[in-house]
């Protein structure tokens, strides 16, 4: 067993040095090449004083350089902090300050946006550019290292002390109070999932893994880490293709990718918009999905198109990575949603009532998870961490409160029934409606705002805002969307905004979300 996540890459580089590690269209890196590139990146970071326990943000489109950089950050002993490449600069700046990053890996065409976002108050010591600008752009006087300059570094892995409890990566997720939360994972929690997944799905160096999930989304840890452990090739979707289901599906089939892992929204769009039925899926060996409930009608279509493949439903919030799984052994006959299955990765699941007592089989309760895949906590937010990471009499280590309502079925699997709060999924992304509402009400013309999730067959939910303006104020839908897009990622900007004179109230005076939800769902 490896002690650090980075060991899985070094071990594969020693075992299968000439096999492909990362492939993007005509560009590729072998395992020896990825090992060397990430070692050079690590040495460059160390030369700028970055090391064990530090954080380094990544804000660049998917590329071979982005993959080499994230491994390099960890080899330097630091944690990588992937930020949505499409996120507005203001969000990047917020995250960079929140976890006080020491370095930032980006692209030269983003320098102007950085200058503006940080306004001379960047927490970083240096910048790295995942491209080779003719002249390295400078941001607020920070040293800037273009990719080609890394060639001067030694390709040997630097000897950096570290242990399994060191930070490996931070993933920022939507926060209900209006600020994102930085979920901290360690080498230990990452390895618990990496090894379980590589073993369970019997990955080998013959496999070619699709990588659809962005690096700031935890599905990518399977592609990157379990893939590296097996010595398999990972094929990140080129940014140019990402928004086109037909183009992505076609390229995966043409490259004969053997392992697909994506959200149900992505796979559904392959079916409804990607012309999947006309493609050759015979190379698919394992097909995994996670992040939201897969409509059974589409799952059935997919299983019929790839009857030879093994299908599995993986479940787990970012805070626990994958903590349960369900092996879909036959095409489901009923339309009821698939179970989320049984505990994975050495984790244990507890279904508890309000007084934290276990409920009987068949009774609904909240899911608590304990075990090796748990996050260390939210970065710099002890109180928030303490709200969800608790010591229970029933468990040895800390237990994470998921907020998911579940029940044990007769067959010993868990069934997901819903949320106890206002967290929703859209296209597999997790969104706290409260974060969007906070942003909307921060606009000077807005008095009240409620965001509702309107169920959608293809992408799980579409976001709609209902807004009440302050007396005498005016603002248009486009301006409010723009206001949201200044700090929120695109997938959190409401698709439509309805203006009303007032919001419906319950008898206790609270906003009647159910009424808003119903009127939005029926289109009334």
């Amino acid at each position: 067993m490896s002690l650090r996540l980075t060991d899985v890459l070094s071990e594969s580089a020693a075992r299968v040095p000439v096999r492909d590690a990362v492939v993007m269209e005509s560009r590729r890196l072998t395992y020896a090449g990825l090992e060397a590139a990430s070692n050079r990146m690590a040495r460059s970071l160390i030369a700028h004083g970055i090391g064990r326990g530090d954080r380094v943000a990544l804000w660049l489109p998917k590329s071979l350089e982005a993959v080499a950089a994230l491994w390099g950050v960890m080899k330097a002993g630091a944690a990588y902090v992937p930020v949505d490449p499409g996120a507005p600069p203001a969000r990047l700046a917020w995250i960079a300050r929140n976890c006080a990053v020491s370095g930032l890996v980006t692209r030269s065409d983003r320098a102007a946006a950085l200058e503006e976002a940080f306004a001379g108050q960047a927490p970083m010591r240096a910048l790295w550019y995942g491209d080779d600008p003719a002249e390295a752009p400078r941001v607020a006087g920070l040293p800037a290292v273009p990719w080609r300059a890394l060639a001067a570094e030694d390709a040997e892995r630097p000897d950096v002390p570290g242990g399994e409890d060191d930070l490996a990566y931070l993933l920022y997720t939507s926060g209900s109070t209006g600020e994102p939360k930085g979920v901290v994972h360690t080498h230990k929690s990452a390895l618990a999932f990496t090894e379980w997944a590589a073993d369970t799905f019997a990955l080998t160096h013959e496999d070619r893994l699709a990588n659809h999930a962005p690096f700031h989304f935890d599905l990518s840890t399977f592609d990157l880490f379990s893939g590296a452990r097996a010595g398999a090739a990972v094929h990140p979707v080129p940014p140019r293709l990402f928004a086109f289901p037909a183009a992505v599906a076609k390229s995966w089939c043409a490259q004969r990718l053997t392992v697909w892992y994506a959200t149900p929204s992505t796979l559904t769009l392959f079916l409804t918009r990607g012309n999947l039925a006309a493609l050759d899926l015979s190379a698919v060996r394992v097909l995994l999905f996670a992040g939201e409930v897969f409509p059974v009608k589409y799952l059935r279509q997919l299983m019929r198109l790839a009857p030879q493949a093994r299908f599995a439903n993986l479940y787990g919030p970012t805070e626990t990575n994958v903590c349960t799984w369900y092996d879909v052994t036959s095409i489901p006959a009923e339309d009821r949603p698939l179970p989320i299955g049984v505990p994975s990765c050495g984790d244990e699941c507890l279904v508890l009532d309000e007084s934290l007592q276990p409920v009987a089989e068949g009774q609904t309760g909240e899911l608590w998870v304990t075990g090796p895949t748990l996050m260390m906590g939210y970065w710099g937010a002890e109180e928030r961490t303490a709200q969800v990471l608790r010591r229970l009499e029933l468990a040895d280590g800390p237990a994470y409160r998921t907020g998911d309502i579940v029940r044990w079925r007769h067959d010993g699997t868990l069934e997901f029934l819903g949320r106890r709060d206002h967290q929703v999924k859209t296209r597999g992304y997790r969104v706290e409606l409260g974060e969007i509402e906070t942003r909307l009400t921060a606009h000077e013309a807005v008095d009240e705002a409620v965001v509702v999730a309107v169920p959608d067959e293809e992408i799980t939910n579409r976001l709609k805002a209902v807004v009440v303006l302050k007396p005498g104020s005016t603002v248009g839908e486009a301006d409010l969307k723009q206001h949201c897009a200044l700090t929120l990622p695109r997938y959190m900007v409401p698709e439509s905004i309805e203006f009303r004179a007032g919001l419906p109230r319950t008898s206790s005076g609270k906003v009647d979300r159910r009424a808003l939800q119903e009127s939005s769902t029926t289109g009334a």
Partner: protein, 83 residues
């Protein structure tokens, strides 16, 4: 700019790139390089073109080359008009 291009430009400004200044965007400029055309934006653009211009855009035509620029989208609309 043709009238088709102008209508697409207006739609993108209002409904897709609402947080960008598109005043200087020429019909031939790349939209994909801006990295903001996500899958939902593409679906909305397809729906807009179908409703606005009365054409059908089959899924197999929804590819990067056909959405590279306003010019490319307009060319796709014209091509589908003949069908």
């Amino acid at each position: 700019m043709t009238s088709t291009e102008a209508a697409i430009h207006e739609f993108l400004t209002k409904d897709v790139f609402y947080d960008q200044d598109l005043s200087g965007l020429k019909p031939g400029d790349s939209l994909l390089e801006r990295g903001l055309l996500d899958s939902l934006a593409i679906l909305k653009t397809v729906t807009f073109c179908e409703e606005q211009f009365g054409v059908t855009i089959p899924d197999v035509e929804v590819l990067p080359d056909n959405f590279e620029s306003i010019q490319a989208i307009a060319a796709l609309v014209e091509k589908q008009r003949g069908k």
